[in-house]
């Protein structure tokens, strides 16, 4: 008879639960902002300017991006336990701390985002604006639109990938401790950003263009997600144990199991819907059902991105370097 008992004093034994939905929402909104920055930059930089004529993609998205990021940062602020000491983030720079990099990035990213939003205001909208600071800045930034779009594209990638780097550096949490995780968060952020672009765009050809982009992004997301799990499964015992909650339908781990089932349905379904849209006859305007399918698949992608952040944030805290216990 093999007897292995870990007689732990349950009162004194620690149980890690430090980051909750607020951090998951912040990671989701951070990735979404990164995706919006990149995709709106593509809208403005794309040769032919077909996309740039779509006003929501052209300037409402650049305007929306800093607002979404601010909401995300508000949730992050809520998670801080000593809010009055927050100024220490900006009196220190720790080159080896991802959170230090992130806190500086989150502040330095705002000026290019806001200037980009100014530069992207269309002429016909500006014509209705009263002369003032906003109009002056918009006129000043307009000649730099393409440069600002390029800067936003790079910063969008940095923002989306940073949210994954933040988690992946914790050697103590095997589920997060993978160089694949930042790539997953990057692709997921781009995909959710594209989904919101599809929902906000008015012109059918713009919706179709980003639908095609999103098909590739969702494919990539699924591949990277599978690689993350496969990498952990073939790694050491602690990494293998860290993914087990996703494949265990017991009461304790059911939410994680459910999240994988949901992702397994939502993401492929979104691809199928998008293929139907792209393959359809669109010489005329998209019908109501076509638009509904487009928005439905975009919502599926957004929910998928949300589930990925939630599941990974919570399940990562169950994992231990020494394995589950």
């Amino acid at each position: 008879m093999e007897l292995t008992i870990t007689g732990v004093n349950t009162i004194t034994y620690p149980y890690l639960h430090i980051w909750d939905w607020r951090v998951a929402v912040y990671l989701f909104l951070g990735g979404l902002t990164g995706g919006l920055m990149c995709m709106s930059a593509i809208a403005n930089l794309r040769p032919g300017k077909v996309v740039a004529r779509d006003q929501p993609c052209c300037w409402r998205i650049p305007l929306l991006a800093p607002i979404i990021l601010s909401v995300g940062m508000f949730f992050l602020f809520l998670d801080l336990e000593v809010k009055k000491n927050m100024f220490w983030f900006y009196l220190t720079f720790k080159p080896l701390s991802p959170m230090s990099w992130g806190s500086w990035l989150l502040v330095l990213i705002y000026p290019p985002m806001i200037l980009y939003a100014f530069a992207a205001v269309p002429d016909d909208f500006k014509a209705g604006m009263k002369p003032g600071l906003l109009k002056t800045w918009s006129d000043r930034m307009r000649p730099h639109l393409l440069l600002l779009a390029r800067i936003n594209f790079v910063l969008g990638i940095l923002l989306a990938i940073y949210t994954g780097i933040l988690l992946s550096t914790f050697v103590a949490r095997p589920l997060w401790n993978s160089s694949i995780l930042p790539v997953l968060f990057l692709v997921s952020g781009m995909s959710t950003g594209t989904a919101l672009m599809i929902m906000m765009a008015k012109r059918d050809e713009v919706k179709l263009f980003f639908t095609k982009v999103d098909i590739w992004l969702i494919f990539s997301e699924i591949v990277v997600l599978l690689l993350l799990f496969y990498g952990h499964y073939t790694s050491d015992a602690a990494h293998r144990a860290s993914i087990m909650p996703f494949f265990n339908a017991s009461h304790q781990f059911f939410p994680y199991f459910l999240s994988i089932v949901a992702l397994g349905i939502f993401l492929p379904l979104a691809i199928v819907l998008k293929f139907l849209e792209v393959k359809g006859e669109h010489s005329q305007h998209l019908g109501a059902s076509g638009r509904f399918l487009m928005h439905a698949s975009a919502v599926l992608v957004l929910i998928g991105g949300f589930i990925i952040r939630f599941a990974l944030v919570y399940a990562g805290q169950l994992s231990k370097f020494s394995g589950l216990s």
Binding site: M1, E2, L3, T4, I5, T6, G7, V8, N9, T12, Y13, P14, L16, I18, W19, D79, L80, E81, V82, K83, N85, M86, W88, F89, L91, T92, K94, L96, S97, P98, M99, S100, G102, S103, T169, F170, V171, A172, R173, Q317, K320, F321, S322
Partner: protein, 185 residues
């Protein structure tokens, strides 16, 4: 400059938990949290079973991941080798809790800052031993300066095979364990 370390002789631990109580009292640790704990483990094939009592606390690692990830420098290494927390700089982001493979940290919910074993720094400054060491009835916990070759901890580590917890994590702990299983008399 000293380099403080703790050596835990597991064969002398009786799991009386006096260290846990002394620590909580000395450092005003909130009721729901602990800076040190004693694990009781039994393993093997019946009737050949082995039991182990293992005291765990912050390992004051030489390569401390909590110090690396701290964005404000609140978690820092002191010159004496201990890892300490500057409570006035801590924002309560909890990155250090996630980074510690020993789960040695907690958030002081009353004040918000991260907290952990400090090797009773205030007692060290007064020339005293940490509270858990001073109270240990079996003499299981021993504390001293690794840079002093004549210190008790230096002698013990010279004379005994020792191990550290989760060595593969690469944290280079300064809490060492000797005599994992009690010797047969």
């Amino acid at each position: 400059m000293p380099r403080y370390a703790m050596v835990i002789d597991q064969s002398r631990c009786v799991a009386c938990m006096a260290c846990v109580v002394a620590c909580k009292r000395e450092n005003d640790v909130p009721p729901e949290h602990y800076r040190t704990r004693v694990l009781e483990m039994v393993e093997g094939r019946f009737p050949k079973l082995k039991s182990e009592f293992r005291s765990e606390l912050c390992n004051h690692c030489s390569n401390a991941p909590c110090v690396t990830v701290c964005p404000t420098g609140a978690s820092h290494k002191e010159e004496d080798g201990t890892v300490q927390i500057d409570r006035n700089k801590c924002v309560g982001c909890k990155a250090c809790l996630a980074a510690c493979p020993y789960d040695a940290r907690y958030i002081n919910e009353e004040h918000g800052f991260a907290d952990k074993c400090s090797f009773c720094q205030h007692r060290l400054k007064a020339g005293k031993m940490p509270a858990c060491v001073a109270t240990c009835v079996g003499g299981s916990r021993m504390f001293g300066d690794l840079n002093d070759p004549d210190s008790l901890v230096s002698q013990l580590l010279r004379e005994n095979p020792y191990r550290v917890l989760l060595e593969a994590a690469g944290t280079k702990p300064n809490v060492f364990y000797i005599n994992q299983y009690p010797r047969k008399s």
